[in-house]
């Protein structure tokens, strides 16, 4: 198990009251992403628990692109990757942020 940490400064602060969101289903072979507001810190921090070693450079590129798409601040994102590919990680992150910033009435799990 490898734990990777990424930190991005200069994003737009999320409203402090935004409720946390979990996207994905634990233990379903499906990547799980938790996103929550962290008012004490202006940065966007991302923690990844991954079973696949040696893909740090790819993860860095995935996260750089993610922050370029969604420059968030004051949030903590935790990813439990279950051996997921960058494709599913990016999709889950985008889904989580959409749900976090623009929640809709009924969302698919």
């Amino acid at each position: 198990m490898e734990k990777l940490r990424f930190r991005f400064e200069g994003g737009n602060a999320a409203p402090a009251a935004t409720p946390a969101r979990i996207v994905g289903v634990v233990a379903s072979g499906n990547l799980e992403v938790l996103i929550e507001a962290l008012p004490g810190d202006a940065a966007c921090t991302i923690e990844v628990d991954t079973a696949a070693l040696g893909f740090g450079a790819i993860w860095q590129a995935v996260m750089n692109d993610f922050f370029a798409r969604h420059p968030l601040g004051g949030v903590r994102i935790a990813i439990n990757d279950a051996g997921a590919t960058p494709a599913i990680v990016s999709l889950r992150l985008d889904q989580a942020v959409e749900e976090f910033t623009r929640p809709r009435e009924s969302h698919h799990g």
């Binding site: 499906n30 696949a52 893909f55 790819i58 590129a61 995935v62 590919t85 960058p86 494709a87 599913i88 990016s90 999709l91 985008d94 889904q95 959409e98 749900e99 809709r104 969302h107 698919h108 799990g109």
Partner: protein, 558 residues
């Protein structure tokens, strides 16, 4: 000059050879031969009498039905008598298809596809036990049956025969008509194994006077359910890619006549027709006419009224009753069962379809696509015929003209259409193997196996779109090779090829619509969930069929 007269030439040597073989068989088999009916216990002696050393032999190996009894019998003939056979068959599916080479019965091979035997074939070719003439597309090999690879003997499979020797193939007609015709009309001999001999056939697929011998197999011929994909295994990335395919390609080009490759990527598209495509108002505008095996995953779209017609290369196990109950959609005989035909369906896919979309294993910077990997000689299957622009096509349709307009470099060149050829692939395969590479494994395979050319499944100049989870690259709009390379890099995700993109060039291509991302297509990624699939399990497919679809046991998990 020599004034001596040459002896008069005989013009019927092949017919004489046929008679010689028939007489030998009658003598050796005696009472084990009754008319055309051969006792199953006498099948090896029969083959020893009708086949001669050096013959070209077609051992019917299809995608679905297999002449397995005859394959086993051929491995048991005496190699001292029967040797150096030249096997000409579309598919190498059974171990026996290669055993004949190991046992010194056959030495030369011309074929199309060897999926399940690919690794062993590579070994045998590497050790010199098999001389491979060429790896063909199906139509190419069938064409050569009538030019320079005509079989002397064909060993085929059918569902049933009558006592006269007429054959009923059942829904898996597949290659049988083309093999039987090429063989029978060149004074060759057709030997058929059948599951049963009945007084009256439901219909006649092969007439008796094309057939030399019929043997009833003690066990029914093997059929492989090759085209069944369990919806439970479709991922959300595949759902996202299917959404992009429908909204970014099917809708704008109004793709109405098409072929889908085999796999979960295209199964996802089939299962999104009644949900996502329906919500986009596309029913009646796309996907009405298909060249396709009866994919179980197409059932919900058929039931939703998307599909008007399906012509098939072969059938699919478990779909028989459903097909029988939907004769307006499928090609069926007066008896009610389907008649497939690989040669005609390949022709339909090549000339009468406006799009091919399928998966692959590797794509290079020019868009060349290959399923060849080191140590496996897998061949091609149907993709190269489906996935190539038909240069001989002349009839115009809206999607064909639209693609042609995009490809036209300037107003002065002669206008013509283009087939849409879409390669759909996740940027990383399992075990983080990148699908995009600088150099295809096909090059190394060609070197190792002594092939004349790297085995490319679809050439880059035939590919019009590359679709990944990152976006769609429209190669028709690329003005030069450099743009094409950046368009491919621009959808190659986090693979080394994708990471090495020129970001500014990719941004410009995106501005011009050469590259389109899900967000450019107005797709909300939150919709990319399995809830969008019209069926999420095999059981859902059975339910959608009203209980008519009967999945093979291995797909039943309830």
């Amino acid at each position: 000059m020599n004034a001596r007269m040459a002896p008069p030439r005989e013009w019927n040597r092949r017919a004489q050879g046929r008679l010689r073989r028939l007489e030998r068989a009658a003598t050796r088999l005696g009472p084990q031969l009754s008319g055309k009916l051969v006792d199953a216990a006498a099948i090896v002696p029969l083959l020893e009498e009708v086949i001669e050393a050096g013959d070209r032999v077609c051992l019917e190996g299809n995608n679905q039905k297999q002449a397995d009894l005859l394959a086993r019998a051929l491995t048991a003939v005496d190699p001292a008598r029967i040797h150096d056979l030249h096997m000409v068959q579309s598919v190498l599916a059974l171990p026996e298809h290669l055993d004949v080479f190991e046992r010194g019965i056959a030495s030369r091979l011309d074929f199309s596809f060897s999926g399940p035997q690919a690794a062993r074939l590579a070994k045998l070719a590497g050790s010199g036990r098999i001389a491979i003439g060429a790896i063909h597309t199906y139509l190419e090999l069938f064409g050569r049956y009538f030019i320079d690879l005509t079989p002397n003997v064909a060993l085929v499979a059918a569902q049933a025969a009558d006592r006269a020797g007429n054959l009923y193939t059942g829904p898996n007609t597949e290659d049988t008509p083309v093999i039987a015709e090429a063989t029978a009309f060149a004074s060759g001999l057709v030997v058929a194994q059948v599951n049963e001999i009945v007084p009256h056939l439901p219909r006649i697929d092969i007439p008796a006077d094309w057939v030399g011998f019929v043997v009833r197999s003690p066990t029914p011929h093997y059929i492989e359910p090759l085209f069944t994909r369990d919806p439970a295994k479709i991922s959300e990335i595949q759902v996202l890619m299917a959404m992009m395919a429908i909204k970014g390609i099917y809708a704008p080009y109004e793709v109405d006549r098409l072929n889908h490759g085999i796999g979960f990527d295209t199964a996802a598209i089939e299962l999104l027709l009644p949900t996502y495509a329906e919500a986009l108002g596309l029913r009646g505008r796309i996907c009405r006419h298909w060249a396709l095996n009866p994919h179980p995953t197409l059932i919900p779209a058929i039931e939703a009224g998307f599909v008007e017609s399906v012509h098939s290369f072969g059938s699919e196990l478990g779909m028989e009753d459903y097909i029988r109950a939907r004769p307006d959609v499928f090609f069926t005989g007066p008896d009610g069962s389907m008649r497939s035909n690989r040669a005609f369906c390949q022709t339909a896919g090549l000339y009468a379809c406006d799009m091919f979309i399928g998966s692959t294993l590797q794509i290079d910077l020019a868009g060349n696509s290959s399923t060849a990997t080191q140590g496996r000689i897998a061949g091609f299957g149907g993709a190269p015929n489906m996935g190539s622009d038909a240069r001989g096509r002349r009839h115009a349709t809206a999607p064909w003209l639209a693609a042609g307009r995009e490809a036209q470099r300037d107003a002065a060149t002669m206008p013509r259409g283009r087939k849409l050829v879409v390669q759909m692939v996740e940027t990383f395969r399992e075990h983080m193997e990148p699908a995009f590479v600088e150099r295809l494994d096909a090059w190394a395979l060609a070197e190792a196996a002594g092939m004349v050319l790297p085995p490319v499944m679809i050439y880059g100049d035939d590919v019009t779109h590359v679709l990944t989870e990152e976006g769609i690259a429209n190669l028709l709009l690329c003005r030069d090779d450099a743009e094409r390379e950046q368009a491919i890099r621009g959808v190659a995700g986090y693979t080394p090829v994708g990471l090495a993109r020129d970001r500014r060039a990719v941004a410009r291509l995106r501005e011009r619509g050469v590259i389109r991302r899900a967000e450019d297509l107005g797709i909300d990624k939150r919709d990319a969930t399995r809830d969008l699939l019209a069926a999420r399990s095999i059981k859902d497919l059975v339910r959608a069929s009203g209980g008519l679809y009967q999945p093979p046991k291995r797909f039943r998990n309830w």
